[in-house]
């Protein structure tokens, strides 16, 4: 357990030293600038614009960090050959992988936390009400980022950085389209295609269930039961991917 946390804390520090928090400046400028600018362009609905843009910006930044830092977690250690010194210590490979994951999860948590605070400040300062539903949306965004990051880590245990990034991005896109996949399956007459698309629907992560931005920007809360189940679904899927990543990394030669 101690080893795991040591890896996690070091990953956290290392990522911060990579100036990852600079994205927050970008985020702040993007959010505040666009809220002020676009708010003057629209007829009414300023609150809606600020909410939509803010939530989308948080989501994009979180997913980008999850993908592009996530793919480097393991492969960077291998490229720099620091993995040898690490694994020579009394630390199992699973501990290493999980520690890496936890470290980055912490980074994302801190990032989302700060972005969300800035976002709420923007909403407040522009004189709009803060809905409880915004908290729900951000919680599910965190789950989504954790899930995407687990994919990035899984891919990076067996492939190159570029390939991992491409695959993870692909999963992100497919994950948002699975509900449409199901719709296609229902409309299709052919049994083979039906079962194939249905399989794909259940195999790929259903990221669209973790997306309640639109609803929450309008101030409509989702059912807490739904939120719990969606969170559990995301975390279970993440757990499965981490188990897979550990398994692959156990058998890997450098």
């Amino acid at each position: 357990m101690q080893c795991l946390f040591a890896v996690a804390v070091n990953t956290f520090r290392e990522t911060l030293r990579d100036k990852i928090l600079y994205n927050l400046v970008l985020f702040a400028v993007l959010l505040i600038g666009s809220s002020v600018l676009l708010g003057t362009l629209t007829i009414g609905e300023q609150a809606r614009l600020v909410n939509d843009l803010g939530l989308a910006a948080i989501n994009v930044v979180a997913v980008i960090i999850a993908i592009f830092v996530g793919i480097g977690l393991v492969s960077k250690e291998i490229e720099r050959r620091t993995i040898y010194t690490l694994l020579a210590r009394p630390i199992t490979r699973a501990q290493f992988v999980l520690g890496k994951y936890l470290g980055l999860a912490l980074v994302i948590l801190v990032n989302i936390g700060i972005m969300f605070a800035m976002f709420l400040a923007t909403v407040r300062l522009s004189g709009h009400p803060i809905h409880a539903s915004l908290f729900q949306a951000v919680e599910l965004m965190l789950v989504e980022a954790l899930l995407v990051m687990a994919f990035a880590l899984l891919f990076s245990t067996f492939s190159s950085s570029i390939l991992s990034a491409t695959l993870t991005l692909g999963i992100y896109v497919v994950g948002h389209l699975t509900s449409d996949l199901k719709m296609i399956a229902e409309k299709h007459a052919s049994g083979v295609i039906k079962s194939l698309t249905a399989t794909l629907y259940y195999v790929f992560p259903n990221l669209e269930t973790l997306n309640i931005k639109g609803q929450s920007a309008a101030g409509i809360s989702v059912d807490l039961g739904f939120q719990m189940i969606a969170t559990t679904y995301g975390l279970l899927y993440t757990g499965l991917l981490l188990v897979g990543a550990c398994l692959i990394f156990q058998r890997r030669d450098f």
Binding site: L38, L41, R48, L49, A56, H176, E208, K213, G214, A218
Partner: protein
Amino acid sequence: MDIDIPRATILRDTAVEALAALQMAPITHLTKQWLPFTLVGMGLCAGIVATQLSLDTTRAKVPKLQRMSYLPDGDILKVAALGYREVVADVLWLQVIQAMGDRRVSTETGQWIYRALDVVTTLDPTFVRAYEAGAHALCSIVVMPQESNRLLEKGIRHNPQEWRLPFLLGINHFFEFGDNQRAAEAMTMAARIPGAPEIIARLAAKLLVSAKSPQQAVELLAKVYEETPDENVKRLLEQRLREAIVERDLALLEEAIGRFQAQHSQRPARLEQLVQEGLLRELPQEPFGGQYQYSALSGEVKSSEIKERMRMTFRKRGQ
């Protein structure tokens, strides 16, 4: 220095000296290295600005909204937006309202406004403001009431809790099409939605009476009267309710008189005859405490308490 030396020579010598000085200076090396890059960079900048400006002038010839002809269908965009539907809808919405603000809006632009708003509301069906502003725009800056109504009907389907949408639909039916029946239906729908101001119920009642459905007007007003807690509003509604009852009774009496006339080839001498002939079960009570006055000469019935009948009057566009 010799005065006879021609100016050109002096200039040349100065230039040579200056160059020599530059070469001796510690920045010489840097200048040599940077100069070509700076020149090439400036050239590229100039090129970019020039092409950008020429692109701007070419594009300015195409109206802003016409560029949306390549806008994919809302259903396709919905999938392609990958969970960022609302932001895409917002961006599109901003573009549409900028185009609405243009000085002159042709019918063609109106078509594009409708199309873009249709896409916006497909992306985000709960974007009530888009339906509302679109419906207004399509009936004011261009005359496309059909499209305006289609947009509103779509909005009502997706947002049954918004009274503004059926209210606007009623306004459109009344002012643009002169269709009292449909206007009354839409207004009634609006009046029945919780949160709708009571004035809509009164308006709807007036429309229902004009559309020859006074009984519905009475029912609607009675319902809204029951639900309103505000005493002042209740008083207003009560007044209108009584007027609607008068209208209903007058319609009833007129209809009975018509049937009497058909049977006897003459008008009844008194209203009581209608009951005697079995055309009415009983004579209605005037709700203001007055009575219904009948003139056998003109066949007209009216209330002793009300001077003006409940009617909506207006002038259609272009009349």
